[in-house]
Subunit: 440 residues, 3 copies
């Protein structure tokens, strides 16, 4: 009897999935994504090659979604600050974080003091280029390290941003994997940040690997709704189209983000807590990881805010590695491919896949007999009664004590202090002897 | 954004109210109060000058009130023990604690041993004159320091008490301040102890200052019932006349007692706990004071016993400084004007007023949008998205997460871990943008 | 006012009951009991002499009981292993643990290696003879110390077991003591182990002493169902006959086991916890013992498994000394009369009797007055009010605060932080003054 299901155990040692995920992140890293534009489309096209069932949707600029409006589409071709000799001293081609996201076009000569108003840097992290965006107010600007900024000499500078802000579309990807039941499990990840690794690419690559595993699993009980969206505006647009259907069908969901470092594991609760998603996440994290960081919804900040918002109230939480905002490289050029690793990504993959496996197995069981059944004649109890014979059958007896038709597998496993998948395996042995049965 | 409401903050630095309250206590200190008699009337007359709306009621001796009967009225004019030379060695005129409260008249010569049966002192506090009363069994007696008692030489002593115990009235004061709503908040304090400062005068003077503040506040939402009564018999008599009306109307109430020292703050829970009074008291104490002493109703002892008694069950708790019975000077001549201070009184005033302000603001709010509203275009969220922009709007977002029509301001503030008045101010900013609305 | 009821207090110093119980255990120790057979009948006959009302029932072999079947009856007359010279080197007559319980008859010569397959010993406890049984698969075997086993030289051995396994009966004893009410309290103990002291005889002797005390108590409020059964199969057979009636009538029950050592006290919760049996057990253990070991139902192992099993769900828990399976001598020859003592048995007797006394007194009380009654004129409160007068009447006032018709005596005592029997005595003083009354 293993603590982990054999499948899951295999996964943990199957390094290839980690190496694949890391390779996908490496491929996608250079693309300059934003909440709209060609970078998002290029990213979605990459995932569609991995997941042929992925459907890419387009929502026109100006479309209303609850309190929001889809913004114009942003295209960025080039951006730089040059000195009087024409040397590019801040260059979008070197790192796409150098330009403020959604910058309007500009072609101006400025002196050093005037230029400074358009510069963004981090005095406390003098070697990091910050990630700055201005989606809903027209601006332009450049980001650079504070060290570089402070070294800029007086003089004249040429600021050039070759961009468009025009009516276009907002794109997102959607993959529906039907199961035997119409009840759904949601996986949601975002694809709207430029070259950032943990707080961007780790999410989509782990989601893609999970989607591929689910695609190959032909005995899916539940239907899976897997979406790749721009953060916030994307989930709001998506919910404005699907929230009634999702509310009726969704039994659990997970936002997949910050899934690639090796520092820790984290759990961020749903708004109300205690949903099926929370319960399975806490069970699997406790059993597989043991020690992890726990955050209340007061620390929320990604698409779970929309999925859990009052009136929407989907059962969605987050299982991740180090939480967004809680590591120093967050939203800077330091959140690069060195921050994530195949092992880090595999850790997230294993825990979320563990959650999905428990959900698939999550049923209510009830006993078929009054009083303990005679396990001995069924080969489930030592026929020789010694001081330890009870201990050997303890797990079966405890399951029989609490498989009383009132609790699902997760609650039963918590009650008898066992791993849910081990508990499921023992329930199936008891079911083979007709000592327990599923409650429909 | 301040942690405390501007009004409250001003109060904390407005030393004048503390000095006024202390002056009132100084004025009232010499009066010999008891549960009936001229001392009570003189005290009530003093407060009527401060609070012209105060109505003084009279209930005849012999009136039944639940299990009790209003006792005869006690008038004390003089009392002393003199030695054979006529020297007053224990003298009511020096301290009114020297006579046992409700002593019947006496004029007798006794020898030292016989006299001792009528003396009360505290061996463990040899310099304190105890406060002793015998309301319901006819007695007479004198209280003195144990040091003085032990020094009394053999000889003959003349014990004289010039008092009356005759049918009369029990008095109490009542101030009703109407609000926009008929629902009421109760403030109850007692006026029945002789020259005692913390466990007597601190209560009525803080109550009077609160009553004056409420009188000046013309936008009162709730009606305020403010009563000055003799302890126990007074609340029983008052409830016997008003309990049905109070049960229908009272949403929260506070017994105001032991409000003047600077040693600590204390909370004594209502009988069942968890009432609106308890909730606001715990919120305000936690936010304004931080560390305070907490007592269960098993430690009750003042009029909250009657307000909370089974079948009455008003939502009443106590917010005070050092609890009655929990400081060494309690019920002795050491509980004098040196034990209380303007700052001590102001502390109680601020905390109870803070409770009333939160109650006035205590409403249920609900959102008007599905998903997060776009705060940016309303000037409530940074238009430039940086790694810290979310933190700046965190409080508004958290309020939007939990202002879902299911919890009042106090519960909302507790849920989002904020001060209720700060939370209220932010809700009003959101309401101005029509992003939240009050639930009727 | 004592913390313990006078009766109970007397019991604690009444050593005779402990000496009697120990004597009964001594008398019964040599009998070779099993789940059926003459040893059980001899044991029941002994208790019938102590408790003339005890009825001995017989259930034929082959009778179905839920998932089980009553096994054949086992009779053991002699058993030994002799060496080639005819010396008995393992001898049932020296200790009845030497033969595996339910051994089929055998009369064979075996060499040392072959013999070893039929031997049972404990390498970790080389001087202990283990207790081994094979009720439901036909086997034979011998138990011996590991030291003896390892010292057995090569050679031929003669294994002889003179036993029967034939259709017969399963016996149990039942004593019903009617009370004023038909509602019942269950005491269940087992009588199926051979010469074992704590994990066998301590249970029936304490149960017999409690049954005798209950028999002598002619004012029994509840009916008592007291049963002496073989473990597991006995409770399953008994429940198969009586579970509907017991479910309708039983308000609390206790399995009496491991009741004789002096090491600790233990509590094992019912399956769901929080039943009346759990509540009274926790109250009495906390008040009388203070510190005790607490086990969840996940550690269950005796007849409470059947009484609490889903669909049966009787309110049954265990109050015992050191729990079965949690002391090194458990199920070995070291669990002998030196492990138990008159004091150890008396401790169990006192605690369980304390539980029964609280249950008998467990009623719901309500007040008769609104507001506090005037205790002074009833002699229940000092007529002289001093700083300590409130403290003296504190217990009465607290009882009056919470005797509000909503909680039984146990809950009231817990709420006011008092011993239930002291609380009951004070309630009866208040009832004599017509200040509280029982709620029917």
């Amino acid at each position: 009897m293993h603590t982990h299901s054999p499948e899951l155990h295999k996964a943990q040692n199957r390094r290839p999935v980690g190496i694949e995920m890391y390779q996908w992140a490496t491929d996608l890293f250079p693309i300059c994504r934003s909440i709209t534009g060609p970078g998002v489309r290029e990213t979605l096209a990459y995932f569609k090659r991995l997941l042929p069932g992925l459907v890419v949707h387009s929502v026109p600029s100006g479309t209303r979604a609850f309190d929001w409006t889809v913004p114009p589409e942003w295209t960025i071709r080039d951006a730089y600050i040059a000195d009087e000799d024409g040397n590019r001293i801040v260059d979008f081609r070197k790192h796409n974080l150098h330009v403020v996201g959604y910058s309007e076009p500009v072609d101006r000569w400025l002196d050093r003091a005037e230029l400074d108003q358009y510069l963004h840097s981090l005095p406390n992290q003098p070697d990091a280029v910050p990630n700055v965006m201005s989606y809903y107010v027209r601006r332009w600007g450049f980001c650079l390290t504070d060290r570089q900024r402070r070294a800029l000499p007086p003089g004249r500078y040429h600021a050039v941003i070759d961009s468009d802000l025009k009516p276009g579309v907002l794109n997102y990807g959607e993959l529906i994997l039907p199961g035997r039941e119409t009840r759904e499990i949601l996986l949601s990840t975002y694809i709207c940040h430029p070259s950032l690794a943990n707080n961007e690419l780790s999410g989509p690559v782990v989601t893609a690997a999970l989607a591929r595993w689910l695609t190959e699993r032909h005995d899916r009980r539940f239907t899976y709704r897997i979406i790749f969206i721009p953060e916030t505006i994307g989930s709001i647009v998506y919910l404005s189209r699907h929230h009634e259907e999702m509310k009726a069908k969704t039994i659990a969901g997970f936002v997949v983000t910050c899934a690639g470092d090796e520092r820790t594991y984290s759990y961020l609760a749903s708004r109300q807590g205690g949903t099926l998603a929370d319960r399975v996440a806490l069970h699997v994290l406790s059993r597989k990881v043991g020690k992890f960081d726990s955050y209340s919804f007061l620390e929320s900040g990604s698409d779970e805010r929309q999925y859990c918002s009052p009136g929407i109230d989907l059962p969605v939480c987050i299982v991740m590695r180090t939480k967004f905002g809680c590591y120093p490289e967050y939203h800077t050029s330091l959140d690069d491919l060195s921050l994530i690793s195949p092992d880090g990504l595999t850790g997230s993959y294993d825990v979320i896949r563990g959650c999905l496996e428990v959900l698939e197995a999550n049923r209510v069981w009830d006993r078929t007999t009054l009083c303990d059944p005679q396990l001995g004649r069924r080969g489930l109890y030592p026929t020789l009664t010694t001081r330890d014979s009870g201990l050997q059958a303890r797990k079966l007896l405890n399951i029989l004590s609490y498989a009383d038709g009132t609790r699902d597998l997760i609650a039963l496993a918590e009650r008898v202090d066992m791993d849910a998948m081990e508990c499921d395996a023992l329930l199936r042995r008891l079911a083979a002897e007709e000592l327990v049965q599923q409650v429909s």
